[in-house]
């Protein structure tokens, strides 16, 4: 937090030497040891740490995989299989990396929904939120290009469909699409530039993560009550309090991650991607990775022309619009109260929105035919209504519950209200 005063005192000669020249130990101490965090953070706040861990893990496994991978359309598929069969622990690296991408998205979705629930995007955290949205956008680009690299059927056809979106843009669409593809269709130049970009983007993500953390350390963390830190009793030191809690959160997350890597490594993938890409044979259903499915459903929900906008362009606009909504959230939400804990109506709509997003995800995996289309249209309507109607209107008409005066008061109230202190200490707590 921007308290300005560093509590770091170098103890050894070497620390003093560094501190006078480049105070890196001071930076680390102030950011990860003495840094004050609200004392009432729950486990939803451990996902920032989990995401950093996943980014590091993806970069490490990715670099080793790149040493064995060949980005040539004739060799790519077999080179991945060589990793799976002949490279020492290659199967582990690849399953960690491919499932790691999925779990990176699991974590980021929880992180984003946490922000939406507790109003973490409200002033003064708008920039922090927007930097997060940029990271999410970069992650989507990275994930999409990574899925193309094994050069299976879904790689190829997914790339064909997704780059096809760009051709819907008026005037410059075809030009952009050809630039992306390096030709007129997905082929060797596409694979090569996707590989180069897939290697580049994670480092750009890391860069924006630094900005994200910087912004966080200026404004400080929000917390479940949404009330700003007012006094020293509202906070605890990052180390050991947040570090140990983050560590436990990470281990639980890794446990679930490992369960998939070792027991269900292909559960989140598509069988068709174990068949080498064939430009002459279209799969029965082209589906993107699960983490794109809600947006894919929105894209396909627009089956009608809107004035001069044809359905294809309309779908693309809605899909990108769905992501753009996130960027606008700080200004769409008109409520004075941050946290949904004190906003009964917003809380209800928030959970409806979560259900809607899951429904859209499921619809995205189904063929776009019959009643699915209508359901997707309704779900899309609610998706946009949540941002454009519910968020601004609810903030104006809703009567929030009484807010506690401070974090400390909220914590002590909760403690008093929990009733059976003997049982409360005996039962293992789950939500901190």
């Amino acid at each position: 937090m921007s308290e300005g005063h560093s509590t770091y005192t170098p103890k050894t000669g070497i620390e003093r030497w560094f501190d006078a020249r480049m105070p890196l130990p001071r930076l680390v101490h102030d950011s990860f040891v003495a840094y004050p965090v609200p004392r009432n953070l729950n486990y939803m706040w451990t996902f920032g740490g989990i995401l950093s861990l996943m980014l590091a893990a993806q970069i490490l496994t990715g670099i080793v995989l790149a040493m064995h991978y060949t980005s040539d359309t004739n060799l790519a598929f077999d080179s991945v299989e060589k990793i799976m069969r002949d490279v020492n622990s290659g199967w582990l690296l690849r399953y960690l990396h491919s499932n790691g991408a999925s779990f990176f998205f699991v974590a980021v979705y929880i992180h984003i929904f946490r922000g939406l629930f507790y109003g973490s995007y409200k002033a003064p955290r708008e920039l922090l939120w927007i930097l997060g949205c940029i990271i999410y956008l970069l992650m989507m680009a990275t994930g999409f290009m990574g899925y193309v690299l094994p050069w299976g059927q879904m790689s190829f056809w997914g790339a064909t469909v997704i780059t096809g979106f760009f051709s819907a843009i008026p005037l410059v669409g075809n030009w952009i699409q050809e630039l992306l593809l390096g030709g007129f269709a997905v082929d060797n130049p596409t694979l090569n530039r996707f590989f180069a970009l897939h290697y580049l983007l994670p480092f750009m993500i890391a860069g924006v993560v630094v900005l994200h953390i910087w912004a966080l350390h200026v404004v400080g963390q929000s917390n479940p009550t949404g009330i700003e830190v007012k006094s020293k009793t509202d906070t605890v030191a990052f180390t050991p309090y947040a570090t140990i809690k983050d560590a436990f959160g990470m281990i639980v997350f890794l446990f679930v991650f490992a369960y998939f890597v070792f027991y269900l490594p292909n559960f989140l993938g598509h069988p068709d991607n174990y068949t080498v890409a064939n430009p002459l044979k279209t799969p029965a259903h082209i589906v993107p990775e699960w983490y794109f499915l809600p947006f894919y459903a929105i894209l396909r929900a627009i089956t009608f022309n809107i004035g001069p906008i044809n359905s294809k362009l309309g779908g693309v606009l809605c899909m990108f619009g769905a992501i753009a909504m996130l960027f606008l959230v700080p200004w769409l939400d008109t409520s004075k109260v941050r946290s949904a804990v004190y906003r009964p109506w917003y809380k209800l709509f928030f959970w409806l929105f979560v259900a809607d997003a899951i429904l859209l995800g499921w619809l995205g995996s189904q063929p776009a035919e019959g009643s699915y289309v209508f359901m997707a249209q309704m779900a899309t309507l609610f998706y946009f209504a949540f941002f454009l109607v519910v968020m601004p209107v609810l903030g104006l008409i809703e009567t929030p519950r009484r807010l506690p005066n401070s974090i400390t008061e909220a914590v002590l109230e909760k403690k008093k209200g929990s009733g059976h202190p003997a049982r409360a200490t005996a039962a293992p707590e789950i939500t901190g």
Binding site: E81, I251, F262, N266, P271, G370, Y372
Partner: protein, 285 residues
């Protein structure tokens, strides 16, 4: 207002429900729109579950079926003979096995291509020189390579089963499918169903009512020397298990490592959790 919202939510559920029912629509047995017509039968496999291991005798039988039947049309390009150590064969046995094959190699110092007996580092030679030849010899469609078949096939499980699959660790969709397909011939198509000429009806086929491949296995076709029943069903089980091995030779290793990782995370997690309780003991939160 709460009442209005509850009724709205209910209405939403009703709409979704009717839509889902409408999606099922009329079933016309003679002209099905969704494939496969029958879902694959779930078999019990030795390699299923957290402690699954391959049944080596079964894999050896499966290899025999592949060699004597499937390999006439299907390649297995990604599998090297040395991989067959996982079937319990010794190095010497693999050398002998590889030497049964003739490998087209070269060019030699004189610039000529030549044939030589196979070595353990060679991969299974393909039955056709190229995909075009394979397609031409098989009525226009090349038989798929079998190296990854057990992972490249799978029938969509649908909601809510795909959720249960997480807890039951169901990952045998590939072998289940292959087994069902191989045992799914010999059935009479429903009256009025049009079976294109040169194709064979099979209600388990993933992408249509019938496929080009004729019934490949029949009782007694492959001789087993370990006394296992020489039936189509047994052949299908064995070759499906073998194909799972071909697609995922490190499966046992993966599950074994996984168990250690899970135990480690459990113990480490418990210790960190207790430490966390201790650290936070003096702070209400």
């Amino acid at each position: 207002m709460k009442k209005i919202l509850t009724s709205l939510a209910l209405l939403g559920l009703v709409v979704a429900g009717t839509a889902a029912i409408a999606a099922e629509e009329e079933h016309n047995a003679a002209a099905p729109t969704h494939f496969p017509i029958n879902e694959p039968k779930e078999m019990s496999w030795s390699f299923a579950g957290p402690f699954g291991t391959y049944d080596k005798a079964q894999l050896q039988r499966g290899l025999k079926v592949y060699k004597e039947v499937c390999s006439a049309c299907h390649s297995m390009n990604l599998v090297a003979f040395r991989t067959l150590e996982g079937l319990g064969y010794s190095e010497a046995q693999i050398k002998t096995l590889a030497a049964e094959y003739t490998i087209h190699d070269g060019p030699n110092d004189a610039g000529d291509m030549f044939d030589r007996p196979g070595k353990p580092s060679d991969h299974f030679p393909a039955p056709f020189p190229n995909t075009e030849a394979a397609a031409a010899a098989n009525g226009g469609a090349a038989p798929p390579d079998m190296s990854l078949l057990a992972k490249a096939r799978g029938v969509e499980r649908g909601f809510p089963r795909f959720i249960f699959d997480i807890f039951t660790q169901y990952a045998q969709g590939g072998p289940d499918y292959i087994h069902s397909l191989l045992t799914g011939y010999d059935q009479t198509p429903p009256a009025g169903m049009v079976i294109p000429e040169g194709t064979h009806y099979n209600p388990y086929f993933l992408s249509g009512v019938s496929l080009k491949m004729p019934k490949p296995l029949s009782d007694g076709q492959v001789t087993y020397d370990d006394g296992s029943p020489q039936t189509v069903d047994q052949y299908a089980r064995d070759v499906s298990a073998f194909l799972m091995f071909a697609a995922e030779p490190h499966l046992e290793d993966r599950k074994k490592t996984g168990f250690r990782v899970m135990i480690f995370l459990l113990v480490f997690g418990a210790l960190v959790y207790m430490t966390k309780r201790r650290v936070w003991a003096d702070v209400a939160h």
